[in-house]
């Protein structure tokens, strides 16, 4: 959580300094939820994170260099400058690379799980995340229904952070609570207060375990508030102050730190030391990537096919 927060704050400052091409999208306030998912998954599981899942990506095993390289467009990154920011992954390792189209990753994870079933693998879980707004897509509906029909071990984490870009929930859906949809799909539903790390670890952990044990798709609806703009270009002035001051507006990271201190599981000095070493780790990653080459149009293949012989040479 802390590493995700420090890394993203650094990326935001690089963005403000004009050192990043494209946008920067933070998971600020969503780290407890996302990290809980990443920590509940195992090697060999499938994970398709979305925009606000830096914490989950790290917990699932992403090296921070991959994040920094993708944001900064290093030729050495997993996407080699072909894709930026949150659009990254290593599908061969079960870490799928999202496309922008909201809702699209859910059915892709379903397919990954169908393949694992064909191969006779047992105890595998596939997880993906979406926002409140993304639940309004047709893709969301098709995929969750498919997962239910096939009884797949899917965990679908819905981060209800109250806004889809600027659109509040009452313009996005009309049901009382998104978790009520679970019964309509024939999947198990869970609710969690995502400002509370303990609750996230507990509820998300349970959902992952139930999927693993063969209880079919699990839908977790988490309530929280987006503590940043949609992206760093957005001041989010449309979020009412009263909401920020309410329980939902609490910062899960600050709350988790206070809990650790209260329980004396960490001393203030140790926390400061940990934060300092994480900041140094992030600074070093950025310094490393800043020395790396950018992609070179002259050495690009400019071929989209895995079978170059089938490329339409007239288009080359």
């Amino acid at each position: 959580m802390l590493l995700a927060r420090v890394l993203e704050e650094k990326l935001a400052s690089l963005y403000r300094a004009g050192k990043i091409n494209g946008g920067v999208f933070l998971g600020k306030g969503q780290e407890a939820l996302s990290a809980s998912l990443g920590m509940s998954l195992r090697k060999g599981d499938i994970f398709a994170p979305l925009i606000r899942d830096q914490a989950g990506r790290l917990a699932f095993g992403e090296d921070i260099l991959e994040a920094v390289r993708t944001y900064m467009g290093s030729a050495l990154g997993p996407m080699r400058g072909r894709e930026g920011n949150v659009h990254r992954g290593r599908p061969k390792d079960g870490y799928y690379a999202m496309i922008s189209h909201l809702g699209a990753m859910i059915s892709v994870v379903c397919g990954g799980l169908i393949a694992r079933r064909f191969k006779g693998e047992k105890g595998v879980v596939g997880a993906t995340c979406i926002g409140d707004g993304g639940t309004s897509t047709g893709a969301f509906h098709e995929a969750l229904n498919l997962a239910a029909v096939e009884k797949l071990p899917l965990v679908l984490l819905i981060a209800n952070n109250q806004f889809a870009y600027s659109t509040p929930n009452d313009r996005e859906f009309a049901c009382h609570d998104l978790v009520d949809r679970a019964i309509g799909y024939g999947v198990e539903g869970h609710k969690v207060d995502a400002t509370d790390l303990d609750a996230c670890l507990d509820v998300v952990g349970r959902a992952v375990a139930r999927a693993r044990e063969g209880h079919g798709p699990q839908m977790v609806v988490a309530s929280l508030l987006r503590l940043s703009g949609h992206g760093e270009h957005d001041d989010a002035s449309y979020i009412p102050e009263a909401l920020k001051a309410a329980h939902l507006g609490q910062d899960c990271l600050k709350t988790a730190e206070c809990t650790l201190l209260d329980r004396k599981w960490i001393s203030p000095e140790e926390l400061a030391e940990l934060t300092g070493s994480i900041q140094q780790q992030v600074e070093e990653a950025i310094a490393t990537v800043q020395r790396e080459p950018a992609p070179d149009p002259a050495t690009e293949t400019w071929c989209a096919l895995a079978t170059p012989g089938l490329d339409d040479t007239f288009c080359a």
């Binding site: 599908p91 699209a104 059915s107 397919g111 893709a139 098709e142 989209a304 895995a306 339409d312 007239f314």
Partner: protein
């Protein structure tokens, strides 16, 4: 005798037999055998590998992409090409970009029962190949013969990229061959369906047969029409097209899709830019009319190119 449709079934049976990574997913493809019976008995012969899908084209294609990431080679049957539009996003934005973005190939085959038949109307008749061809990262096949339906479908499944297999519904039952082929031209190579020296028709899929009938008609008038069957429209075998135009000096590109852009426009553009000097007359195109596809056979028969309209366009071109 084997029909075009049976060849498609046989190719799928062979793919399922030869490769444990292959499975079939689509609406009604299981016990029922598919809306056109292209998967007849396959669910029985290959238990657990021919799965009925909910009416969810986006999720059908999306799940095939996920399975391909994990090493499977899914065949997705879209019930009619027209209904691929709800799955468009996964095809053009996801399947087509996956390898380029991640270096993980996406070997999915999406079967699109395409083209018009009498009485099918605006939403069960479309030819979508030109729309999809605009997107990089896809291979698009348009078999015109029983032999190609069989061999190209087998090749489609073996290709490491997403393939849209545009099988023509009009040919399903109309077209018959003695048996299944033992050898075939590779994907990406066009075929001279009929040699000639006066004018070239470049076409594909069901229109190959309209062009062949028109060529027969014109042979009675003393003209020798060369018919080029593209077989694959992405990639297009531009060399074979140019070589034919070099022989005849005249080009008519015929397609069943709509006239704005598309395959025929692409063929004309290529010949104009690479082979203008080969032409003795302006290159011409013949496509469907620029309206939705009508239901009534009288209207439908006029909406799409047919042997008489191809013949008329050829006579016009030969007079130039």
């Amino acid at each position: 005798m084997i029909t075009y449709l049976e060849a498609i079934r046989e190719a799928q049976a062979k793919a399922l037999t030869d490769d444990p990574r292959v499975y079939i997913y689509g609406q009604d493809v299981g016990r029922f055998g598919g809306a056109f019976k292209a998967t007849k008995n396959l669910a029985h012969e290959f238990p657990g590998r021919v799965l009925d899908a909910p009416i969810s084209e986006d999720a059908m294609v999306g799940s095939a992409i996920g399975a391909a990431i994990e090493g499977m080679r899914p065949i997705v049957e879209i019930q009619y090409a027209d209904f691929s539009t709800p799955g468009f996003n996964q095809i053009v934005n996801h399947a087509a970009s996956l390898y380029w973005r991640t270096r993980v190939p996406c070997p999915i085959t999406v079967r699109l029962p395409s083209g018009g038949t009498a009485g099918s109307g605006p939403f069960h008749s479309q030819s979508m190949e030109g729309v999809y061809a605009q997107y990089p990262g896809l291979v698009i096949l348009t078999p015109a013969t029983v032999e190609d339906a069989y061999s190209m479908l087998l090749e489609a499944v073996a290709i490491d990229d997403p393939v849209l297999f545009c099988e023509h519904k009009y040919l399903y039952y109309h077209l018959k061959a003695e048996g299944l082929p033992t050898e075939a031209l590779p994907v990406g190579k066009a075929r001279i369906a009929r040699p000639g020296r006066d004018v070239t028709v470049v076409t594909y899929s069901a229109m190959v047969h309209e062009a062949l009938a028109a060529a027969e008609e014109l042979s009675g008038e003393g003209y020798e029409v060369e018919v080029v069957d593209l077989r694959s429209i992405k990639p297009i075998d531009t060399d074979t097209v140019l070589a034919s135009v070099a022989r005849t000096g005249r080009l008519l590109a015929v397609g069943e899709a709509w006239p704005w852009g598309g395959v025929t426009a692409e063929v004309v553009a290529r010949v104009a830019s690479e082979g203008l000097a080969l032409l003795d007359a302006p290159p011409r195109r013949l496509n469907a009319k620029n309206t939705p596809i009508p239901f009534h056979p009288n209207l439908w028969g006029t909406h799409r190119p047919t042997a008489p309209t191809v013949a008329r366009a050829l006579r016009d071109l030969l007079r130039l």
